[in-house]
């Protein structure tokens, strides 16, 4: 490969910014300076689709109406464990307006066993949703009910009813558990342990580490199951014609859904087209359309008509994925001077009938510690499957680790922030702590118990880490047209994070245009493959090829202009809607005119994500360095009522080169709100006697509403790792990780009693303050 050397900004402005030389592919653009020298990138830009969204012009999956379209409704199981003896659909089939009834079956045509309440059993396609609903109620299912277990600790007992008596392969969609050892006999519902991650396995010698420790914190932290509540539920509209299948999907990955359905029905991938132009929210569970997508496809195939199938809210809670709970044991030792000597971690959690209940890598990598070992177990239970959920594992992990670090600080008589300065090696988090503490005025912090009376105030801090993931299979096309249009295309979807807008900003920067001038067409698998929106990897994966493709198209145009000016293409620059000659002010042409003079009607250039400039930490696309996050929480606890109010969160984050400040802040706001919601309210309440979720709506499943949202003050720290042509990374997940731990630390600071379990409800606070056993 042709390469050249190029100097890049490197480090953190106003802290340690310098330059570094990198060897880069010869066809990639020159280094951008830091953001304050750019025009569109790093600025606040309104979303390119803002108008369409606020006016209702934007068509989401549930808005899709196709000629002849039918509406489908799934019949779900009402019992947690059963084999099905018979399903009678006769009456349903006779209902006027019903076009097809589908029964889910195993490959050998038998009925699948029911393993959780809410598991799809059958489905109906009809002229209207009302008819489809009515028809599903007419289907009679004859269940042979079997014993089941819901509670994680009960499920771990040897005598517990087995969820699966054969090995299972299914890891939850994007879940987090590392390597699962499955299938070994005699371990009941337990799977694991997972003892390593892509950051390696155990280190050092735990016993030796603890023997060197002067102080030890040993605790068990518990987190609840959190279900997904995106405004738009999961769903698809599928039109299966002989020549191929068109799928409108509310998805985080057009590519994954295409591959999934092509695999499922044994179709060439080129025969499945997946479209997601607008997305009403996804937090990790929308990479796959299982189990409802194949159902809609079969109904479409059976009827020869397009089929609309969106989950209802209750189904969303029951079958569309959730964040597994955790019972998270930690033992951490430190010397008198605070240096960590050993970290031992053991966790159990349930992703229901799926796997993926690990607690992430926070304990493993957040702080340097020579001796570390982890054992993370999955416990199968008769409940809906877990799925990825905004920083899977790490949120649960940070809730424990960051409280344990606070507990250590207290034992060592150190200010929790100062203690982190001492043991945290990360340069960027050092800066985040400094800037965050200043904004927050951390100097107000006093030891726990300092606040007295009925209304008690508390301050807390917690930090977290998230890897820089990159998907190398990320391709972007830039097209420029003789009529003046500049367009960018990719299969990548914008799940509401603002992907369209950052792509427009980058192309605009390259062409000297305004962001609003660029046409963005994405969210369709007829365009080049691009990453799924998970792992906070979209920005880091898609912005470099966006810039590189724009640069290539521009250089193609420059070549044509340069020929006319009898100069060299490298002498030209695009700025402010003009193409200029660097050294000859008399030579200039508007971009519009230059495009009109193109030899061909269009120029198309495409680029794929190249390897990181410094090389990857892992060859498959795990970049060097981490996304830093430090959050400060200020809470009020009412000791009479047990109410906790989060008054304020200062959230300091880094995500490489920021592309759109408004959108990054928007992600931080969302992450913090979900973090507060997780810390104080959300909880899937399961009835252990019947296996039903008792709060499958948005009234009883409590999430943070407007009054619960604290003042959120984002701080965005620019950091230039010099790893790609944009140096930009995502923020979605990091924004969500530290919040619950920061809130829990602040609650402890307020009342002097530590909450080892979330959500921190009035019931739990009152129980602690009044020393009740129940």
């Amino acid at each position: 490969m042709d390469t050249r050397k190029e100097k890049f900004p490197y480090g953190i402005p106003d802290h340690n910014l310098t330059e570094i030389e990198r060897e880069i592919p010869a066809d990639e653009p020159p280094a951008w300076p830091v953001n304050d020298q750019l025009q569109e990138v790093g600025k606040r830009r309104i979303r390119v689709d803002a108008r369409a969204k606020v006016t209702g012009e934007a068509k989401y999956t549930s808005d899709i109406r196709l000629p002849g379209m039918l509406y489908a409704k799934i019949l779900t199981a009402k019992v947690p464990h059963a084999s099905i003896r018979n399903i009678n659909t006769q009456e349903a089939e006779k209902l006027p307006g019903v076009h097809a009834v589908h029964i889910l079956r195993n490959e050998d045509n038998s009925y699948p066993d029911v393993k959780y309440v809410g598991q799809p059993v059958a489905a109906v396609a009809a002229d209207s949703l009302d008819i489809a609903r009515q028809a599903t109620r007419m289907i009679q299912v004859d269940y042979l009910e079997k014993p089941f277990v819901i509670d994680v600790e009960q499920a771990m007992k040897p005598e517990a009813p087995l969820v699966f008596d054969a090995p299972i392969a299914r890891q939850a969609d994007g879940g987090d558990v590392g390597v699962v050892h499955d299938g070994s006999k005699g371990q009941g519902n337990l799977r694991g342990p997972s003892t390593s991650s892509f950051f390696g396995g155990p280190r050092g010698d735990l016993e030796a580490g603890f023997s060197q420790a002067d102080v030890i914190v040993e605790q068990t932290y518990r987190t609840q199951v959190q279900t997904h509540v995106p405004l738009e539920t999961h769903g698809v509209v599928i039109d299966w014609k002989p020549e191929g299948m068109t799928v409108y999907a509310s998805t985080q990955s057009t590519k994954d859904v295409r591959d999934e359905l092509a695999d499922y029905f044994d179709l060439p991938k080129s025969r499945v087209r997946v479209i997601c132009e607008f997305m009403g929210g996804g937090f990790g569970a929308k990479h796959s359309t299982s189990p409802y997508g194949p159902v809609a496809a079969i109904l479409s195939q059976k009827t020869g008509r397009p089929v609309w199938l969106m989950l209802e809210r209750k189904e969303e809670h029951l079958m569309a994925g959730n964040r597994p709970n955790s019972i998270h044991y930690l033992k951490i030792g430190a010397k008198k001077d605070g240096m960590l000597t050993a970290i031992q971690q053991r966790s159990h959690g349930t992703a229901g009938v799926a796997l993926g209940a690990g607690v992430g890598r926070v304990a493993q990598i957040l702080y340097e510690c020579p001796n570390f070992a982890t054992e993370q177990y999955d416990v199968l239970t008769f409940a809906g499957p877990g799925a990825a959920w905004r920083a899977p594992g790490n949120v649960q992990g940070a809730f424990g680790v960051e409280q344990a670090i606070d507990e250590l600080a207290e034992k060592l008589n150190l200010n929790p922030l100062a203690y982190r300065d001492k043991i945290d090696q990360s340069e960027v988090r050092k800066v985040l702590r400094q800037r965050g503490a200043k904004q927050f005025d951390w100097s107000r912090w006093k030891p726990a118990g300092s606040s007295t009376g009925t209304i008690r105030k508390g301050l807390g801090v917690a930090q977290s880490t998230w890897p820089r993931f990159v998907d190398l299979d990320s391709t972007v096309e830039v097209k420029i047209y003789r009529d003046g249009a500049v367009e960018v295309r990719s299969g990548v979807q914008d799940i509401g994070t603002g992907t369209k807008t950052i792509m427009a900003q980058i192309v605009a920067e390259e062409f000297g245009l305004k962001t609003a001038d660029v046409i963005v067409r994405i969210g369709d698998t007829i365009f080049p493959d691009a990453p799924g929106s998970g792992g906070s990897k979209v920005t880091g994966s898609i912005t470099p090829p966006t810039r590189n493709a724009a640069y290539k198209a521009k250089m193609e145009l420059f070549k044509q202009i340069a020929q006319q000016w009898q100069t060299d293409a490298t002498k030209l620059v695009a700025s402010n809607g003009m193409i200029l000659h660097k050294d000859d002010a008399s030579k200039k042409v508007s971009l519009k005119e230059a495009l009109q003079r193109m030899r061909t009607g269009q120029i198309t250039a495409s680029a794929s994500r190249s390897d990181d400039y410094g090389g990857f930490a892992q060859p498959w696309g795990l970049a060097h360095g981490h996304l830093g996050s430090v959050q400060f929480a200020e809470v009020t606890v009412n000791t009479d009522t047990g109410m906790v109010k989060v008054d304020r969160i200062v959230a300091a984050h880094s995500c490489g080169r920021p592309i759109n400040l408004t959108q990054i802040e928007s992600q931080i706001n969302g992450g913090v709100i979900q973090g507060v919601s997780y810390a104080l309210y959300e909880d899937r309440v399961m009835d252990e006697a019947t296996g039903h979720m008792m709060n499958p709506d948005v009234d009883r499943y409590q999430i943070a509403y407007s009054m619960e949202i604290p003042a959120i003050e984002p701080i965005i720290v620019e950091e230039y790792p010099a790893l790609s042509s944009t140096d930009a990374y995502g923020i979605g997940e990091p924004a969500n990780i530290a919040t619950a731990a920061a809130v829990a630390n602040a609650v402890y600071n307020a009342i002097g009693m530590r909450m080892y379990e979330i959500p921190i409800t009035p019931a739990r606070i009152l129980k602690a303050l009044n020393h009740l056993d129940q």
Partner: protein, 335 residues
């Protein structure tokens, strides 16, 4: 939800000739011709969406003229038409002036959107929000089944008093205030007979009849609610506590009405919501206040007495200290 037909009643008499059942009678049944009253529809709709109610006809009384009047006079006290919305009650000048705990309870219930739709008649006739009752898949006592799933189940929101058979709590937090004011419910039947029932007798405890929560019969309609003119020196306070500030059902709420003579409390009314299957007055607590000056200590004593007979379930022990704190606070706020 099932298909149904809609009938706009032209008068109370007309409504009463159309209607032939109640939400309580129809739960879990599919009577061929059930016709049920609807005011704001906010409770009815939720029951129908879950499939618990499948009426064939909805008799809409929301548009009936005159049923939403709110009148106050020094002689007669307050008359609140059954169709008055919670929003109207919360904002009404006379109610705010003379019955502040009622205004507050109405204003603290539900959400702004719901308060614009929810009527006071429907509010006192709504069904419990016990999540087992509200689940089609749990055939509990209240639906004619043979057990209470909550008793040994997920009972963190459930009753701590009078929780023998069914441990649900009444859903109406507005009724807590009505109990403290000794409100009277005025009901007319299809024979055009009118009766006036003390609110405490309007509610039916599960021990008496688990299938219903009020005395309402199929041919009856609530026309209005009456509150006597408060004696001079009356002071009141209301506190509702949910697990979330924006909106939540009450986990505990308290209404206190004190008749004060200078610093001395002549008579006290203390009502508790979300404590038991029907809204409750605490005679013990009231007795502790009567004839005494209101101090922190006496307020705490009264509050503690109110909880003396509390028998919390496995997951709602927290409600005891919560009620003690809220009752004490409400007494002090009122005095």
């Amino acid at each position: 939800m099932n298909n149904f037909s809609w009938y706009n009643a032209k008068s109370i008499e007309d409504a009463l000739t159309q209607v032939n059942s109640t939400a309580s009678n129809e739960i879990y049944r599919q009577t061929e011709k059930a016709a049920i009253l609807k005011a704001g529809g906010t409770d009815l709709l939720d029951l129908m969406k879950e499939g618990l109610l499948q009426p064939k006809t909805i008799v809409n009384i929301r548009e009936l003229p005159g049923l939403d009047k709110i009148e106050f006079s020094n002689n007669d006290g307050l008359r609140v038409g059954a169709n008055s919305t919670l929003a109207e009650i919360a904002a009404h000048e006379d109610i705010r002036k003379h019955y502040i705990a009622f205004a507050q309870a109405a204003g603290d219930a539900a959400t702004p959107q719901l308060r614009n739709m929810a009527t006071i008649g429907g509010n006192i006739a709504q069904r419990t929000r016990c999540w087992y009752f509200r689940s089609y898949d749990h055939p509990c006592f209240r639906k004619g089944g043979d057990r209470c799933f909550a008793k040994n189940g997920e009972n963190e929101n459930h009753a701590i008093l009078n929780n023998g058979s069914c441990v649900s709590v009444h859903a109406s937090s507005v009724s807590t205030a009505l109990m403290a004011y000794d409100a009277r419910v005025v009901i007319v039947n299809s024979k055009n007979e009118t009766k006036e029932i003390p609110i405490a007798d309007f509610f039916v405890a599960p021990g008496e009849d688990p299938l219903r929560e009020t005395i309402l019969e199929a041919d009856e309609i609530i026309t209005h609610i009456r509150l006597a003119k408060p004696a001079s020196g009356t002071k009141a306070a209301y506190i509702k506590q949910g697990a979330r500030e924006s909106h939540d059902w009450s986990i505990a709420d308290v209404a206190v009405v004190l008749e004060m003579n200078g610093k001395t409390c002549k008579r006290a009314a203390i009502a508790l919501g979300a404590a038991s299957p029907v809204p409750l007055r605490s005679m013990r607590a009231e007795g502790a206040l009567a004839g005494n000056q209101i101090t922190h200590e006496i307020a705490l004593e009264a509050a503690t007495l109110a909880m003396e007979r509390a028998r919390p379930l496995a997951k709602n022990g927290y409600k005891v200290p919560l009620f003690i704190n809220l009752i004490q606070e409400a007494i002090l706020n009122a005095s």
